[in-house]
Symmetry: C2
Subunit: 170 residues, 2 copies
C-alpha cells in the first residue's frame, strides 16, 4: 500500500480478534501481503485452518501451557521472541498488513513492556498497516494510534452459562 | 452446532463487518456450515475473493446502483428477496452460522421492516447462530439478541483525510 496506519481494537466486548481476522481476509482478497501474529495465545484456534488453506502467514507466539495470570520466565522469553519477529516484519517494508493480536493484553500481563511496543510502532514502515488488538490498550498506545475502536459489551450470553464453542469463540 | 444464539454488532466504529467475516472464517475452519449474506451492499469487496477461494457461501443482495439515501422500489424489492432467502437459510436447520451483514442499516433505511426481521429471528433453527451487523440496531432487536457488542469509535483517521482503501476498508 501507499500508506499504512496504526489501528487498535480494544474493550471488553467480542469482535476484536475476529475483526483483525476479517481485515486480514479482506486484505488477502485484495492481493495484499499479510502477517497475523498472535501474542499470548498458544493453543489451536479454528481460524488457523482457514489461514493455512489460503496461505496467509500465521504465527502463534504464546506457550500452550500459559494460563492467564502471572507469567513465568519461559512465557516472557516466548513473548520477547514474538515481539522481535513482529518488529522485523513491521519495519521490513515487505508487508501491507501486520496484525499483532492480543499485544495489548501482553503488556497488561507484564509479558512485554509498553515502551518496547511503542518503539516497535515508531519503526513501522510507512507502507504497512498495523493492527493491535486486545483489552487494556494503554493511553500512550491510544495516543499513538490513528484509529481506535472500543468493542463494548452491551449484552452477553455468558450470563446464560454458555461455554466456549469451537468455531464461534475459539 | 448443538445450540445457536443471536449476536448483534452495532455502533459507529469500525470492525462490525470484519468481525462477522472473522467469525465466518473461524467457523469454516472448524468445519461448520456458514452462509454470509450482505444486505445493502452490491459492489465487489475484497473479502469476496477469499470466501470464494475457501468455498464459503457468500451472497450480495444490494443493487450496485444503490446509494445510501432514500431507496427506490427496485432497492426495496432486492432487499425483500434477500430477506426471503435469509429466512429460508436461518430456519432450515442446515446452517451452523448465518451472517446477515448490514441488516440493521437496511431497517434504518426503510428497505425492510423491523417486524420482518424479528419474525425471521423467531423462526431461527435452534442449532443456527445468527449474526446481525450494522449501525442503528433498534432496541427491540437488542432485546431479542443474546449477545450485543457496540463498536465505538474512539479515534478515527478519516479526520486526517484518508480515502477508502481497497483491502482495508473495502
Amino acid at each position: 500500500m501507499e500508506k499504512g496506519y496504526v489501528q487498535i481494537y480494544t474493550g471488553n466486548g467480542k469482535g476484536k480478534t475476529t475483526a483483525a481476522i476479517g481485515l486480514s481476509i479482506r486484505a488477502f482478497g485484495a492481493g495484499l501481503k499479510v502477517s497475523f501474529i498472535q501474542f499470548v495465545k498458544g493453543r489451536y484456534t479454528s481460524e488457523m485452518k482457514s489461514f493455512e488453506k489460503l496461505g496467509i502467514e500465521f504465527f502463534q507466539g504464546g506457550r500452550p501451557e500459559f494460563i492467564i495470570g502471572k507469567p513465568g520466565k519461559d512465557d516472557i522469553d516466548a513473548a520477547l521472541k514474538t515481539l522481535e519477529m513482529a518488529r522485523e516484519k513491521v519495519s521490513s517494508g515487505m508487508y501491507d498488513l501486520v496484525v499483532l493480536d492480543e499485544i495489548n493484553v501482553s503488556i497488561y500481563l507484564g509479558l512485554i513492556s509498553e515502551e518496547d511496543v511503542i518503539d516497535l510502532i515508531s519503526k513501522k514502515s510507512s507502507r504497512t498497516e498495523v493492527i493491535l488488538t486486545g483489552r487494556y490498550a494503554t493511553q500512550k498506545m491510544i495516543d499513538m494510534a490513528d484509529l481506535v475502536t472500543e468493542m463494548r459489551e452491551i449484552k452477553h450470553y455468558y450470563t446464560k452459562g454458555v461455554e466456549q464453542r469451537t468455531g464461534i469463540e475459539v
